[in-house]
């Protein structure tokens, strides 16, 4: 017999079938002896179970006031504390991870961009001892800083186009100088100006056209993203590495002493100095995350153990 037929017979002996189902089953029972036998076995089983006597209760189960107001063990009262602290620690841990991702990814990107600059500076310093330094001419006022001349000022960190326009703003004055002392600023991007072979003396006509460069370059500089300025401006041309030694040796007017030049010529180091400060907050995060994770794990385990103890 199929299970469905057993279920129909079971419902039949409990009078749970509809009139239609009941009539259909009774019609089958008249012809099917196997179905009759199964029905009789089910009836006997039910009757047998009905014969079982009730057990006497061992005692009254009435409740006393003490039983109703009985408090749970002291440790059980800490269950909400542990469970809540575990949940809070977990939430804070997630937030800290999200926070770290939020500030960590852009910072990592910036660091990865600065890293090649530092390598290049080292390379330049090594090359400086082997190659003859090209002269760098700093035009304009004597109080120009080397940062401006070497493009350091253009890096500007987060300022974007901070010092670079200052340099360019002086260009018209340099254009008024004699041709021999013509401006080194030429048309084109700032990087090209700063990294171009400075041994080539500027064309006086280009010096005259300095006004045009003043008009063009700031617009170009403004169009550059602020974050990308720093690495771009700090990258000298590989063909013409700029080092402190070069500054001191060339026939350059207004060049500071070698020590000062050497100090200034380390833009990668300067750019690298702020890194530890900016890295302090992310460095603290892993410690905080470890503490939060430990707290969540410990309190969660305690809550789980109390819960199990209460159940047993």
């Amino acid at each position: 017999m199929r299970p469905q037929e057993w279920q129909t017979l079971s419902a039949y002996i409990d009078n749970q079938l509809s009139l239609k189902e009941k009539a259909a089953l009774e019609k089958r029972l008249e012809k099917d002896s196997e179905l009759q036998k199964a029905l009789e076995e089910l009836r006997q089983t039910k009757a047998l179970l009905r014969l079982l006597p009730n057990k006497r209760i061992p005692h009254n189960f009435t409740l006393s006031a003490d039983m109703v107001t009985a408090r749970s063990p002291a440790i059980s009262r800490f269950f909400p504390v542990f469970s809540l602290s575990s949940a809070l620690a977990t939430v804070l841990l997630v937030f800290s991870i999200v926070f770290q991702w939020g500030i960590g990814v852009p910072q990592l990107r910036a660091q990865s961009e600065m890293a090649p600059a530092a390598d290049m500076t080292t390379t330049y310093e090594m090359n400086a001892e082997e190659e003859a330094p090209p002269p760098i001419i700093l035009w304009g006022e004597q109080n120009y800083s080397l940062e401006m001349a070497t493009g350091k000022g253009g890096s500007g960190g987060g300022d974007g186009n901070g010092p670079a326009p200052l340099l360019l703003r002086e260009a018209p004055e340099t254009s008024a100088m004699p041709p021999e002392e013509g401006p080194a600023i030429a048309e084109g991007p700032i990087e090209e100006q700063l990294t171009a072979p400075v041994t080539e003396m500027p064309d006086p006509e280009q010096a005259v056209s300095g006004d045009e460069s003043v008009k063009d370059v700031p617009a170009e500089a403004e169009s550059l993203p602020a974050e990308e300025d720093a690495p771009q401006m700090m990258e000298p041309s590989p063909q013409e590495p700029l080092t402190g030694k070069q500054y001191g040796e060339g026939p350059i007017l207004g060049i500071p002493s070698e020590e000062e030049a050497g100090r200034i010529i380390l833009p990668a180091e300067d750019a690298g100095q702020p890194q530890p400060q900016s890295r302090r907050a992310p460095e603290r995060l892993p410690i905080l995350q470890i503490l939060l994770g430990g707290l969540a794990l410990a309190s969660g385990t305690a809550a789980f153990l109390i819960h199990r103890k209460n159940q047993s």
């Binding site: 279920q7 009789e40 089983t45 047998l48 179970l49 009905r50 009730n54 009254n60 189960f61 109703v68």
Partner: protein, 203 residues
Amino acid sequence: MDEISLANAAQKGDLNAFNRLVLAYQELAYNIAYRILGDPHAADDATQDAFIAAYKHLKSYRGGSFRAWLMRIVTNKCYDELRRQKRHPQTPLEPINPDSEEEIESPQWIMDDSPSPEEQAETIDLDKAVQDCIQQLPEDFRAVVVMVDIQDFDYNEVSHAIGKPLGTIKSRLARARMRLKDCLQGFRELLPSMFRLENEELS
């Protein structure tokens, strides 16, 4: 007072009213627990815990059959006890022989005047046979067949007490009866004569 009025009074904190309900249903609750668990001590604990839990959660009773609501708590306590027994299976006491430091398989000290296994088989009564068969049922089937066939609940009450739809109750009851029928075939000689005669006639 009827059970609804007693339940309402108990909801307002009247412990005496609740105890009157306890007196009315304690035998039913204990017997259901005993048939589901198969152990009088476990049934005792489950019944007591169920009444305490019922008093503490009286606010969740919102009318209807108080008996079905109460038996739902009882069956839940029984399932909790069965789960606890599975987590902490009891091991028999096996004393260690001081000479060999090995466990004594048939300790003399635990022996009593109860009959031997052969004698037990001969004197086993119908109640125990049926209880053994009930214990062999899946846990979900036990409460249904105990309530319907032993305690004479109707399907709707069982549906409320178990928290399952009517179709599930019918299905579980039919399968439980089939299994019990097969199990009880092994105890035919213990069946009352009226059942044996009918069986012989049918067979």
